[in-house]
């Protein structure tokens, strides 16, 4: 069946998953449902200890068995040890057919590929998959389907009961013996635990894993003892040098600085740039440079940001220190400056649900004016791909991209026109992850294209001196330099689905076929 972004979703996939095709951003507006709750094993006897000596013991206590769904968060980013240490123990016990529901998976989890190959893990649900796991899924090694969903979509899936988590493993920098978790104060600080909060709220069993046991009560808790069944102390939950890296140096790449300047000039000429505006950006070189150049204009014109939301890095925290933003609403910390800044009074921790869940009574992204986002590919329908590389291999994650783009009043995609030889603007993206109806502007080093659906923005820019082009013109420039790319050849088997934030199917990902000259 053809969905709202023109992708043909096989009937068989709809049958297996029980899902509908994507029918536009607002298809589920006003939907009413009863949230799913966890099975709760009550603890009334204060003499009962939650401390368990090892991962192996806690697996037994939680009743691990074949076919269960277990969950993890990705706040330890590339330094995470938790997924590997839990999966190693599960593998030793000979458990099979597990579903992993992770907020994201990356290079830190390369070591679980053998467990995909031997059937320990047969289903994966994640924001995306980088590294070897992505390659394994694209090569058809996962028995079941990989479901790629946005950060908001993951919360929706868990709250609606579509995904029921049997055991949540929550790595935490600090914890007391009764389960109060905090993202700071330990030796492997990740700042916040935002993505794990929905797991703690809805999983039947919740295990906190820490390398720094604190005296009771470890307050203010980021995840409360009332949600936690067991606490395990291990040597190391992660490699601190890979959890939060030093702040990215301001880019000196003239191409990125130029794109950042285009982006800022565009942004300040929209009607949304006024006292109290709200803003989110990623951590790419050009996005960071945009925040820096925007801060300058804000200072010149005495305009203040109301709030900044999403993943935090030094340039956002600088806005707070300099009094240029009312508060920061933090879901993830990308560098040590951001981790450190969590201690500031106006730097608030929020859950992934508060951030961008489409299935609650209104998330923060609904209040967002601007979001600046990256892309692997954008096509002439303004559809964006952030998950599947142009070579057809799963290589990225949706993160909050589809959530923020759908909700922000002005969604700006910033990408160099060519990444190596690969055109970032093309006729049809390999895989749609964010629909064109969510995307308002595409900023490249060769020009800026406004989505024709946003005539209001086109009108605002009438007298603005920026290199405006149509999206087709940008594509043609790219193809003139690089040559027109061939369509990547896939086999028929569907290995993954790209889920829209409301749970419908945006696109499918097929198994790759080794290239052969015909």
């Amino acid at each position: 069946m053809i969905n709202a972004v023109g992708r043909d979703i096989p009937e068989e996939i709809l049958k297996i998953t029980g899902k509908e095709i994507f029918q536009g951003n607002h298809y589920k507006d006003g939907y009413t449902y009863k949230m799913d709750g966890p099975m709760t094993h009550v603890v009334m006897d204060g003499r009962e200890s939650k401390l368990v000596p090892s991962i192996a013991d806690v697996l037994v206590k939680c009743g691990i068995r074949d076919g269960m769904t277990i969950s993890f968060h990705h706040h330890f980013r590339e330094g995470d040890y938790v997924v590997q240490m839990v999966m190693d123990e599960i593998h030793k016990m000979g458990i099979k057919d597990l579903t992993i529901c992770a907020s994201s998976l990356g290079k830190a989890q390369n070591g679980i590929v053998p467990y995909i190959e031997d059937g320990t893990i047969t289903n994966i649900q994640s924001s995306g998959v980088r590294g070897k796991i992505g390659e394994a899924i694209s090569a058809g090694k996962l028995k079941g389907l990989a479901i790629m969903r946005s950060h908001g979509g993951r919360v929706r899936a868990i709250e609606s009961g579509e995904t029921r988590i049997d055991i949540a493993f929550i790595g935490t920098p600090t914890c007391d013996d009764y389960g109060n978790c905090r993202g700071i104060g330990g030796k492997s600080d990740c700042g916040v635990l935002s993505y794990a909060i929905v797991d703690a709220d809805h999983a039947d069993k919740v295990v906190a894993i820490t390398d720094m046991l604190k005296p009771y009560p470890n307050f203010p808790a980021h995840i409360s003892e009332t949600k936690v069944d067991y606490v395990v102390v291990v040597d190391k939950v992660g490699d601190p040098s890979k959890i939060a890296t030093g702040a990215a140096k301001p880019t000196t790449d003239m191409r990125k600085l130029m794109m950042a300047d285009y982006c800022t000039q565009f942004l300040i000429h929209t009607p949304y740039f006024k006292e109290g505006f709200s803003y989110q950006t990623g951590v790419g070189g050009a996005s960071i440079a945009s925040t820096v150049s925007l801060a300058k204009v804000m200072q010149e014109r005495n305009i203040h940001m109301g709030f900044g939301v999403g993943g935090m890095s030094k340039p956002m925290c600088d806005l707070l220190v300099n009094g240029q933003v009312g508060c920061l609403l933090d879901t993830q910390d990308f560098d040590l400056d951001a981790v450190e800044d969590v201690k500031e009074l106006k730097h608030f921790r929020i859950s992934a649900g508060e951030y961008c869940d489409p299935y609650n009574k209104g998330a923060i992204v609904n209040k967002l004016d601007f979001v600046i986002l990256g892309a692997l590919e954008v096509d002439t329908h303004f559809n964006v791909n952030v998950v599947v590389g142009s070579n057809g291999v799963i290589t990225g994650a949706q993160g909050g991209h589809p959530d923020t783009a759908a909700c922000a009043k002005c969604s700006i995609i910033i990408a160099p026109l060519l990444q190596g030889r690969i055109p970032a603007v093309c006729t049809d993206v390999t895989t749609v992850t964010t629909p064109g109806e969510s995307v308002d502007v595409v900023v490249t080093d060769y020009g800026i294209a406004i989505n024709p659906a946003r005539q209001d923005l086109i009108d605002c820019m009438k007298d603005v001196d920026l290199p405006f082009k149509t999206i087709e013109e940008l594509r043609d420039i790219a193809y003139r330099i690089s040559g027109k790319p061939e369509r990547v050849q896939f086999s028929d088997r569907v290995v993954g689905i790209i889920e829209a934030r409301d749970g419908t199917v945006m696109d499918v990902v097929r198994q790759t076929k080794p290239f052969e000259f015909s």
């Binding site: 070579n391 330099i481 790319p485 061939e486 990547v488 290239f515 000259f517």
Partner: protein, 99 residues
């Protein structure tokens, strides 16, 4: 032109290609490793055969390790490898066989 000995040109840097040529077994043997083989494999093969034809070469083993080079870069690296393999460093036919 006749390939007399192995010749190499180019690097493994991003957006470059490393081209190696060796004397062949009476035909063109083409081998390609490329980061963009799925999208540009056919185009790279076409550029290679076109360039070799222009240089008058029909007996060569040519191997390209491509890191996303544009056509102009690929052509230049192939020409470089071929002329090195023929020991020709002077009187290069700029605007003739070398386009």
């Amino acid at each position: 032109m006749i390939i007399q000995k192995p010749g190499i040109a180019g690097t493994l840097e991003s957006s470059d290609a490393q081209v190696t040529v060796e004397p062949g077994d009476g035909k063109i043997e083409f081998e390609l490793e490329s980061a963009v083989i799925n999208q540009y494999g056919l185009q790279i093969r076409k550029i290679t055969y076109d360039t070799l034809k222009r240089l008058g070469i029909d007996n060569v083993k040519i191997k390209i390790v491509d890191k996303g080079a544009l056509d102009c870069t690929l052509k230049a690296r192939i020409e470089g490898a071929v002329y090195r393999s023929c020991n020709q460093y002077n009187d290069l036919p700029w605007g003739g066989a070398i386009q």
